[in-house]
């Protein structure tokens, strides 16, 4: 690439934190929400008690914390690195998420889901590069 990167090591580490923090956050949120149980009611009192269970769930809280770390890393890295380098990271996180979902959440990744996710990954990269 013609453009010289200012802090290559810091940039690499922070992008890794953005991807891993975001994905790990999603995985924790997913795990927490499966514990809370299906939100399938429009009854106000049921929703209220479910909401209370959501915000007191340890997985959900840790998930939000992970996403906050990823978000502040993003703000930091954007202070010196170009957005066209950083935002393809959002595309890569689809792949990391799917791998994480398979191993941490025991989700079954069939062929359609795998190819579909890779296409989304590639498509997002085309959008942001």
């Amino acid at each position: 690439m013609a453009v010289e990167l200012v802090k290559p090591v810091e940039t690499f580490v922070l992008i890794a934190i953005i991807i891993l923090g975001g994905s790990f956050g999603d995985i924790l949120l997913s795990r927490g929400m499966k514990q809370v149980g299906e939100i399938d009611s429009l009854n106000f009192r049921v929703l209220l008690s479910l909401g209370k269970r959501v915000i007191t769930n340890l997985f959900v809280i840790s998930g939000i914390a992970c996403m906050a770390v990823a978000f502040f890393s993003l703000l930091t890295v954007l202070s010196w690195a170009p957005i066209s380098l950083v935002s393809p990271a959002t595309a890569l996180s689809y792949a990391v998420n799917t791998i994480g979902a398979k191993y941490f959440l025991n989700e079954e990744i069939n062929k359609g889901r795998l190819i579909g996710t890779l296409l989304v990954c590639l498509g997002v990269a085309f959008l942001v590069i």
Partner: protein, 166 residues
């Protein structure tokens, strides 16, 4: 409520939220370009004098937060983003993560279309190609099952699991 309408509402919410946030922040930037600290009133006046007392050269930056949180597009965009997060959690409670994420990425497409209509942004050929790839990807994922353990986990079992500490 079925899964599909929930996904559609979530996608619309986050796309419109993104577009409104962008419009709001651009308005804020435009306003700040021609902003004169001596003309500040209300909350802006208070913040401008506060920041100005630290360093007079920074005075005009004091108005940033006040101008931002009083911008109607910013406020609407922010509320839509918060609504999306609640809808996203609801989706996660009912479907696999590896299903929800690719399927809600349909919002990239809607955001591009809204950016074209509301923000007069131009979309290059390469971006349309990316959009096409995302469309195919979403269709492939959405065609399959939405949840791996549909039969194994019921609400009661989960609650039992929590109370048993497992």
């Amino acid at each position: 409520m079925k899964l599909l309408p929930l996904i559609v509402i979530a996608v619309f919410t986050v796309s419109l939220g993104d577009a409104l946030l962008t419009r709001g922040m651009k308005q804020v930037a435009l306003f700040m370009d021609s902003f004169n600290p001596s003309q500040a009133t209300g909350l802006s006046y208070y913040l401008v004098s506060l920041v100005g007392s630290i360093n007079p050269n920074w005075a005009s930056y004091g108005a940033w937060p006040a101008v931002t949180v009083t911008n109607i597009n910013f406020l609407l965009g922010l509320s839509l983003q918060m609504t999306f997060f609640i809808l996203f959690l609801t989706l996660l409670s009912r479907a696999d993560l590896s299903y929800v994420l690719p399927v809600t990425s349909f919002s990239y497409i809607l955001t591009a279309i809204l950016a074209m209509l509301m923000l007069q942004e131009e979309i290059s050929g390469r971006r349309w190609f990316g959009i096409l790839l995302i469309c195919f990807g979403v269709l492939l994922v959405a065609r399959g099952e939405s949840r791996t353990d549909k039969k194994n986990i019921s609400n009661n079992e989960v609650i039992e699991g929590i109370t048993n500490g497992s």
